[in-house]
C-alpha cells in the first residue's frame, strides 16, 4: 500500500479516544489467583477417560523373542525375522540404513553403554532413519544423524512411544508421527531440523513431554490434530517455539483441544531457514508460540522469554500468507485460552505487519501476546500482566488451570478391531476367490460347488493346495498361489468356502 490508509488512521484515532475514555474510567484490573482455582472443564471426554499412567503402549503380558543386533549387522534384517511381540536390541555402534517396520508390536530399542548409543547415520545420502506403519511400536534410545528426510516417521501407527532419542540434522523432520492415534513422544533431544523438530501431523491423543528441541525452524508443531498435550518441553533457539495450527488443503481439516503448558520457550529468534513454499517458511523469527486457526488451545504455565516478534502469536488463515483455499477448514482461531504464563521481553523488534496492526491500537513497544483475525470464545486471565494487542474481545476465563487433565492418552490403547475367523473367511472369499470362482459353473477356475465336493471336510488340504497349486485340469489356467494370505485367513477362507451357498 503506497498511500497512508485513511481508514486506519481514523480507526486509530477512534481507538485512542475510546481507550482514553475507558482508561479514565475506574475500570479495575481483574486479578485472579491461579492457585487452587477452578480446573479446565473443556477437555476431551475426561469423564470417560481414566488416567493413563503406563504410557501409550500397553505393557506386554508375554514377551516375545529378543533379537540382538551388533555393529556390522543389519537392523532391518532383525525386523524382518521379528514377530509381533518381539524386541530388537541394537548395541552401540554405527548403522547406516533405513529401518522400516510394517508389522505390529515391535519394540526397537537402542542399548546405551557408558553414553555410547546405537547410532543411525544417514551420511546425508539416506532419506529416513526409521519408518513404521505398525501399531504398538516403541522406538527408544537411538542417536540419529545426517538423514535427508526424517529421523523417525510413521504413517498410521496407533499406540506408539518414541523416547530418549538424540536426533541431529535429519532433514525435514526429526520426529514425525502422522495419521495415528494415541502416542507418547518424550525425553528426546532434537536439533538442526529444516522444518519441525517434532511434528505431530493429523493425529489424535498425543502427548509430547520432556523434550529438548533447538536450532530448528519449528520446535514442536501440532498440525491438524486433536487432543494433544505439549508439556514440560524446553524449546529454544528455533525460529518458532511451539506451534498449533491448521494447514488448509489436508484431508483432516481441524485442530482442537490442545494444551501447551509448563514449557520453557526461550530465545526462538533463529532466522527462518525453512524450504520455500513450506508452511513453516512463513513463521516470523522470534515467535514463542504460534496458534493459527486452531481451536480450543490452552496456554498455561509456560516461561516465554526473549522473542523478538511476539511471545504468543494468534492468527487466522486470512492474515497468514501463501495458504491454499480450503472451504472445509474453519480459518479462525477460536477458543484460545491463555492462563498464567511468565512472559519476559517479547516483541521487542517485531515484524512490520505486527507493528502496523499494533499501531491501530496505539500500541508501541514490546508485545507478549498478539492476536489478529476473527475469534470467538477466547479468554485470558490476568491480562494486565502482559503487553497485549488484539485481545479486547477475550473474556475472563472461568477457570485458572488444567490440573484435572493428566494427559489425553487412551487407557488400554486405541481400540483394536477383533476380527472373527468367519468374517476373515467371508471377506477373503468375496474379495479374492470370487474373482475366479463362481458358485455354480466355471468362471476362470472350477466352480465352488466342485471345490466343495472335492474338499468336503478337508479344509486343511485345501489350504495346502492354495499355497502351492499344481495343475489339475488340462484345460484350465494354472491357479496362482494364494500364499500371501496369512495362515489364519487361509484356514478361515477354506472353511468358509466349504459351507458357502449361492
Amino acid at each position: 500500500m503506497n498511500k497512508p490508509n485513511r481508514l486506519t488512521v481514523i480507526l486509530a484515532l477512534v481507538t485512542f479516544a475510546v481507550g482514553w475514555y475507558l482508561g479514565s474510567d475506574d475500570k479495575g484490573m481483574t486479578i485472579t489467583s491461579s492457585v487452587g482455582g477452578s480446573g479446565y472443564g473443556g477437555g476431551y471426554e475426561q469423564e470417560t477417560q481414566p488416567i493413563q499412567d503406563e504410557g501409550a503402549v500397553q505393557p506386554r503380558e508375554q514377551q516375545g523373542k529378543t533379537h540382538v543386533v551388533n555393529p556390522g549387522d543389519s537392523i532391518q534384517a532383525a525386523v524382518e525375522i521379528a514377530q509381533p511381540g518381539d524386541t530388537i536390541q541394537v548395541m552401540p555402534g554405527t548403522y547406516s540404513e533405513t529401518v522400516y517396520i510394517d508389522k505390529d508390536d515391535i519394540h526397537l530399542v537402542g542399548v546405551i553403554v557408558a553414553g555410547e548409543r546405537a547410532t543411525l547415520d544417514g551420511r546425508k545420502t539416506l532419506n529416513d532413519a526409521i519408518l513404521y506403519s505398525g501399531n504398538d511400536v516403541i522406538i527408544e534410545n537411538f542417536k540419529i544423524i545426517d538423514y535427508k528426510g526424517n529421523g523417525i516417521m510413521s504413517q498410521a501407527g496407533n499406540n506408539f512411544e518414541i523416547r530418549n532419542n538424540l536426533i541431529v540434522d535429519t532433514g525435514i523432520y526429526g520426529i514425525f508421527p502422522q495419521l495415528g492415534k494415541n502416542g507418547l513422544i518424550e525425553h528426546n533431544v532434537v536439533s538442526g531440523i529444516a522444518d519441525a523438530a517434532i511434528y505431530v501431523g493429523m493425529s489424535d491423543n498425543i502427548h509430547v513431554a520432556y523434550n529438548e528441541v533447538f536450532d530448528s525452524v519449528a520446535g514442536i508443531e501440532i498440525e491438524n490434530s486433536r487432543h494433544a498435550i505439549v508439556e514440560h518441553n524446553h524449546t529454544h533457539n528455533n525460529t518458532g517455539g511451539i506451534l498449533a495450527f491448521i494447514t488448509p488443503g489436508l484431508p483432516i481439516k481441524d485442530t482442537y483441544d490442545v494444551i501447551i503448558r509448563n514449557n520453557f520457550i526461550l530465545d526462538n529468534n533463529t532466522p527462518n531457514f525453512g524450504a520455500p513454499g513450506s508452511t513453516v517458511a512463513g513463521i516470523p523469527a522470534g515467535t514463542g508460540i504460534l496458534i493459527m486457526a486452531a481451536d480450543d488451545v490452552v496456554v498455561e504455565g509456560n516461561i516465554i522469554s526473549n522473542h523478538k516478534t511476539a511471545g504468543i502469536l494468534i492468527t487466522d488463515h486470512g492474515n497468514a500468507a501463501n495458504l491454499t483455499l480450503d472451504p472445509e477448514s474453519d480459518p479462525n482461531a477460536d477458543g484460545a485460552m491463555i492462563l498464567d504464563n511468565v512472559m519476559l521481553n517479547n516483541g521487542y523488534d517485531t515484524i512490520d505487519e505486527v507493528k502496523a496492526f499494533a499501531l491501530t491500537e496505539l500500541h508501541t513497544g514490546n508485545i507478549d501476546i498478539f492476536q489478529i483475525g476473527p475469534t470467538e470464545g477466547s479468554c485470558i486471565i490476568n491480562r494486565h500482566r502482559y503487553h497485549t494487542v488484539g485481545i479486547d474481545d477475550f473474556s475472563e476465563c472461568d477457570f485458572t488451570n488444567t490440573d484435572n487433565i493428566h494427559n489425553y492418552l487412551i487407557a488400554g490403547g486405541a481400540e483394536r478391531r477383533v476380527i472373527k475367523a468367519s468374517e476373515r473367511g467371508e471377506i477373503a472369499y468375496l474379495g479374492v476367490c470370487t474373482g475366479c470362482h463362481a458358485y455354480a459353473g466355471r468362471l476362470i477356475g472350477p466352480s465352488v460347488m466342485e471345490i466343495q465336493a472335492l474338499y468336503a471336510n478337508r479344509p486343511e488340504d485345501m489350504v495346502k493346495y492354495i499355497n502351492a497349486p499344481t495343475p489339475m485340469r488340462a484345460d484350465y489356467p494354472e491357479m496362482p498361489a494364494q500364499n500371501y494370505l496369512d495362515a489364519e485367513t487361509q484356514l478361515a477362507v477354506a472353511n468358509y468356502i466349504l459351507q458357502v451357498g449361492n
Binding site: 522400516y100 501463501n322 478391531r417 459353473g441
Partner: protein, 411 residues
C-alpha cells in the same frame, strides 16, 4: 468368428438359466458369478444378473454390499487415509445386482451418445485401465477434450470427481459426459427416446428397478451407471498383499521404492496416501501443458479462487501403470517421466509470468535416477485387474461397439 460366440465355459446353472432354452448362450463374465444371459436373437428376453459382482455380498434385501480386506482396519477420524493397515474411505454400495449389471450394459452401449458414435467405454476402456491411452480424450464429432479420461477403478471410494473436482457423487459425475456437447453430446429427451425405442431396454430397466412405475428414466440411467462404476474394485495387488502382512510380496527393489514413496524427501505418500493412494484433495503442482496449449486453470474455476489456479484433484495411483500418458492433459508419456517431474525443482515448469500458488509438498527432493526407477517399480505393484468386469457379448441396442480392441481379445 461371430461376435456372440465368445464363451469358454458353460452357463451358471441358476434357476433362470434352467428355464431358458439351450440355444440361449450364456455370456459369462470374467468375474465371479456376475453374468448375463444374452440371447442370440434380440427378441429373447435378456436376464440381468441376480448375483453381485466379486467383492460384494448380497444382502437379505437384495442389495450388493462391498466387502474387502481393508474393512479389517480403522483410520484416523474415519478419513480413509493412513498407512498400510488402514481402512479405506467408506465405499459406495447398496445397489441391486440387476442395477449393476444394467449399468454394465449401458456403459458399453453407444446408444448413450447423441449420434451413437461412442459409449462410456470409448474413453474408459477396461483394456486400458478404464482410460483410453490418450492425453486428451476425443468426444463426439472428433472433438478433442481439454483433459484426459480419469481411470474409473475404485471410484466407489471417491468423494469428488473430475480433474477439477467439480462433482461430489458418482451420479453427478455421470450426468456430465452424457449431456456435455463436447463429450457424448446427448440430450435427456433424445436419450430417453433412443432407449425407449431400443427393444431390450424397457424390460431391462423393469428388472433393475422393479418398484418404479416408470423404470426407464434419466435418473435410473444415472443410478445404473453409478452402480456399475461402484463395482470396479481393485484391491488385490501385490502391494495389497504386502500391506496385509505378506512381506515377500514385494521385491527388495520395490520395497526400496515404497520407502522412497513414503519418505519425506519425495513426499509422494503425503498426497497419494494409502490405501487409496489419493488424499482426495486439490493440489497445484505446476505441470506443463502439452506444447502450444493454454494453461488449464483447473480447480480455479470450480472454487472461483485464484489460489487454486492450475489445481487438480490428486488422482489415485492404483492401476496407474495401465493409464499412460499422465497428468491432466497427458503431458508425460511414461510413468518415469511423470515421476521425474517431481524432482525437476519447485516450479521449474511454470512459465514466466504465470502465477501459481504451488503446493507446499512440491519441493526439491533431488532424487537419484535409481530412486526414480524404484518409485516406478513400486507404482507398478499397485496393479490389480483381477476383478475386471466382462464386456457384454453385444450391446442391448444392437449397435456395434465403439471401444478399441475388445472383441478379438476376448474370443
Amino acid at each position: 468368428m461371430g461376435r456372440s460366440v465368445t464363451y469358454n465355459g458353460w452357463c451358471g446353472l441358476s434357476k433362470v438359466a434352467r428355464q431358458l432354452r439351450w440355444q440361449i448362450i450364456c455370456g459369462l463374465t470374467i468375474v465371479g458369478s456376475f453374468f448375463i444371459l444374452e440371447g442370440e436373437a434380440s427378441q429373447d428376453r435378456l436376464q440381468l444378473s441376480q448375483t453381485c459382482p466379486p467383492s460384494f455380498s448380497l444382502s437379505e434385501d437384495h442389495r450388493c454390499l462391498l466387502r474387502h480386506r481393508y474393512q479389517f482396519y480403522d483410520s484416523l477420524q474415519d478419513s480413509g487415509i493412513g498407512g498400510l493397515k488402514t481402512a479405506l474411505p467408506d465405499g459406495r454400495d447398496g445397489f441391486r445386482p440387476e442395477q449393476i449389471d444394467l449399468g454394465r450394459l449401458l456403459f458399453f452401449d453407444p446408444i448413450l451418445s447423441a449420434d451413437h458414435s461412442l459409449s462410456c467405454a470409448t474413453c474408459h476402456n477396461p483394456k486400458q485401465g478404464f482410460s483410453d491411452g490418450l492425453g486428451r480424450s476425443v468426444g463426439i464429432r472428433g472433438q478433442i477434450q481439454k483433459r484426459s479420461a480419469p481411470s474409473l477403478w475404485n471410484s466407489a471410494f471417491l468423494s469428488t470427481f473430475f480433474w477439477d473436482a467439480r462433482a461430489q457423487s458418482l451420479e453427478e459425475q455421470a450426468l456430465s459426459p452424457l449431456f456435455n456437447d463436447h463429450e457424448m453430446g446427448n440430450t435427456p429427451d433424445n436419450l430417453m427416446s433412443d432407449l425407449s425405442s431400443a427393444s431390450n431396454y424397457q424390460q431391462l430397466f423393469d428388472q433393475a428397478f422393479p418398484s418404479d412405475a416408470q423404470a426407464l428414466s434419466i435418473a435410473n440411467i444415472i443410478t445404473a451407471l453409478s452402480a456399475f462404476q461402484s463395482s470396479l474394485i481393485s484391491l488385490n495387488s501385490r502391494y495389497d498383499h504386502y500391506a496385509h502382512g505378506y512381506q515377500d510380496a514385494l521385491s527388495d527393489n520395490e520395497i526400496a521404492g515404497l520407502n522412497v514413496f513414503r519418505s519425506f524427501v519425495a513426499r509422494c505418500s503425503q498426497c497419494h496416501t494409502p490405501p487409496l493412494f489419493t488424499n482426495q484433495q486439490v493440489a497445484v503442482i505446476g505441470t506443463p501443458e502439452p506444447e502450444g496449449l493454454p494453461r488449464d486453470v483447473g480447480a480455479q474455476e470450480t472454487f472461483d479462487s485464484k489460489v487454486l489456479r492450475g489445481g487438480f484433484r490428486v488422482p489415485s495411483l492404483r492401476n496407474i501403470a495401465q493409464t499412460a500418458p499422465y497428468m491432466h492433459s497427458g503431458r508425460f508419456k511414461s510413468l518415469r517421466e511423470a515421476t521425474e517431474f517431481y524432482t525437476g525443482g519447485r516450479g521449474h515448469a511454470v512459465p514466466e509470468g504465470e502465477e501459481m500458488l504451488l503446493h507446499w509438498h512440491i519441493s526439491e527432493p533431488n532424487l537419484t535416477a535409481e530412486e526414480i526407477d524404484q518409485l516406478v517399480d513400486f507404482m507398478k505393484t499397485l496393479s490389480d485387474e483381477s476383478l475386471t468386469p466382462k464386456i457384454p457379448a453385444q450391446a442391448p441396442s444392437g449397435l456395434p461397439f465403439k471401444h478399441r480392441e475388445i472383441f478379438h481379445e476376448q474370443t
